[in-house]
Amino acid sequence: MVREFFVSLIALFLGLLVGAAVMLFGGYNPLEAYRALFWSVLTSPYQLGEMLRESTPLLLTGISVALAYRAGLFNIGAAGQMYLGGVAAAWVGIAWELPPVLHAGLAVTTAALAGALWGALAGYLKAWRGVHEVISTIMLNWTALYLGNGLIRAYLLDPNQRQRSHFVAASATLDSPTLASLFGQARLGYGFVLALLALVVYAVLLEWHTLGFALRASGLSPGAARYAGIPPGRSIVLAMGLAGAFAGVAGATEVLGVFHYMGIAAALPNAGFDGIAVALLGGNTAPGILLAGLFFGLLNYGAGSMQFVAGVPLEAVRIVVAAVLFFVAVRYVFERWVGVRRPAE
């Protein structure tokens, strides 16, 4: 565990090094850029709050990818599940009238259900139709994007704006005046609290609950799991469904907690794909996801100050994310250096 943490740190360090090399090539000062990126975020409560806001969906999509991964599945579909979750949350927030807490709760639950349905669909296709989940979730991602856009256009569109839905009712928002005032009026609300709660749920579910045991067993050895009386098909659908639920909540936190509307998008949300990096860097454990999610949130949010202060284009950060993911993917090469041993396959 400690050694795996060091392996992730090495990957992270090498990723930042690649970023520095790219900045040098572009004629920028990487030290100045990284100082601006990491330091500015810690200078004011507002910046810190916005960084936590940026991390919120990453934590949730990170859990989504990690949960599927522990069950032996690769959930590339977090982006689409998140998108439909956002649409579902917007629908409940706009079309329904309910008292404050109940309204937001129902909107989040509906978002989780929408994501779960989309994830479970990939699970069904894998378990009963033999479609590899990587391919099916890619196809379902794009389907979700256009389906979601169609639904917004048909039922939720603000006719004066044309590119986004109406605002959700105040009773459905996840805004927290207390948290916001604590962080200099940053757009930080109960969405972040939900993400932290989700991490606890994820840890408890996977480490201490029989359901988590069944999922992990199916991931480690489908044959043994079947022999132990765990139906593999059910595990796959369940794992993908749960993974989708967490991603769906990520969509809800963005719509109900940050923007208060759902926009028609040309591309899938980045957070859905960054979740892959979060899960893999975090070693698919709850504490790891927390650290990795906060780190990538910091990277994404700090990119703005980096561009402003050091003049380095924002996209340098996307290169760092790619490089970190690359070094995590080839981690076994340097796992040998620090002596992490893998169980025989």
């Binding site: 139709r129 890619i138 996209e315 993917a329």
Partner: protein, 319 residues
């Protein structure tokens, strides 16, 4: 109506061409046993390289001829990027899915970053005025009503793509090299036992896929957009992947599927051109290729089976 049909055919052909290039690339990669998830990344990098080099060529007086070197530089850029996917997934035996996503992330970040570095902070390359492909009419054939002006008076990149389909089919199904490549993807262990250098073959498959998809990206710039920005390639690589699957990992199948999936993009643009087409539900058309591919994969419509060793790293030490 006939005129609209001609317009529609012309647009479809233009939009299908990048898909044909990239899905052909996908066939080479996946038939050799390496997942073609990075097609999107190769296309992005190819489009970026073509756009930037064409700007330089245009400035140095190449005129319309500048499009040709730019086109091939686009292919080379895609190939260069595919080397990373090949090295990570073949030599280092990293997870092919993760490696593919690394390439996509990197292509997006690096290309937009470099555009900003080269073009003084601008979000897109300067728009090309001369160094783009013009339409070439084929004598006689271009006089066929409707079909002629739309399919036989189109860009050279499209004719080349048609030829590439034929070439890929002959290469993969009628030469020893093609047999070896397909063997590496179908049963890596058996291929190695027969004395084939599985890893080297896979390198070739991936590099060819990078080159072809890079040409696809370059095609987008040189026939449609005239410049490169973050939105030039947004999902075409994944539609190409879907087209390759829908075409059952076969060059001709991928070609037909690309033409078919090009209809979606064609319609999208037709809607902007002709008033009567505005009632077509665009979102439904856009999601159509993906749903269709899912149905095929699930066996509800026809049957599609991936090469059997696809996605598995080949480790010579493991029996």
């Amino acid at each position: 109506m006939i005129e609209a049909l001609g317009q529609f055919l012309a647009i479809t052909t233009v939009y299908a061409t990048p898909l044909i290039w990239a899905s052909l690339g996908g066939v080479f990669s996946e038939r050799s046993g390496v997942i073609g998830l990075a097609l999107e990344g190769y296309m992005i990098f190819g489009a970026f390289a073509a756009a930037s080099s064409a700007v330089v060529l245009e400035a140095s007086g190449w005129g319309a001829w500048g499009a040709w070197p730019a086109f091939f530089l686009g292919g080379l850029a895609g190939m260069l990027l595919s080397l990373l996917h090949a090295y990570a997934s073949i030599t280092l035996r990293a997870d092919q899915v993760v490696s593919g996503f690394v390439v996509n992330f990197l292509a997006f970040g690096l290309s937009v970053y470099l555009v900003k570095v080269f073009f003084h902070g601008a979000g897109q390359t300067d728009t090309l005025r001369h160094a783009v492909f013009g339409r070439w009419g084929i004598p006689l054939l271009e006089r066929i009503p409707v079909l002629g002006p739309s399919v036989f008076a189109t860009y050279p990149s499209t004719y080349l793509a048609f030829l590439a389909v034929l070439g890929a089919y002959l290469l993969l199904w009628h030469t020893p090299f093609g047999l070896h490549l397909r063997a590496a993807g179908e049963s890596a262990g058996a291929a190695a036992t027969a004395g084939l250098p599985v890893q080297r073959i896979r390198y070739i498959g991936v590099l060819v896929s990078g080159f072809l998809a890079g040409l696809g990206g370059a095609t987008v710039v040189l026939t449609t957009t005239g410049n490169f920005s973050h939105a030039t390639i947004s999902g075409q690589g994944f539609i190409a992947l879907a087209a390759m699957i829908f075409g059952k990992w076969h060059p001709v199948g991928a070609f037909l599927a690309s033409l078919f999936f090009g209809i979606g993009t064609g319609l999208k643009n037709l809607i902007q051109l002709t008033p009567w087409a505005r009632d077509i539900p665009l979102d439904a058309i856009l999601l159509f290729p993906y749903v269709l591919t899912l149905l095929v994969l699930a066996g509800f419509v026809g049957r599609a089976e991936a090469p059997r060793s696809l996605g598995q790293a080949y480790d010579p030490e493991v029996r």
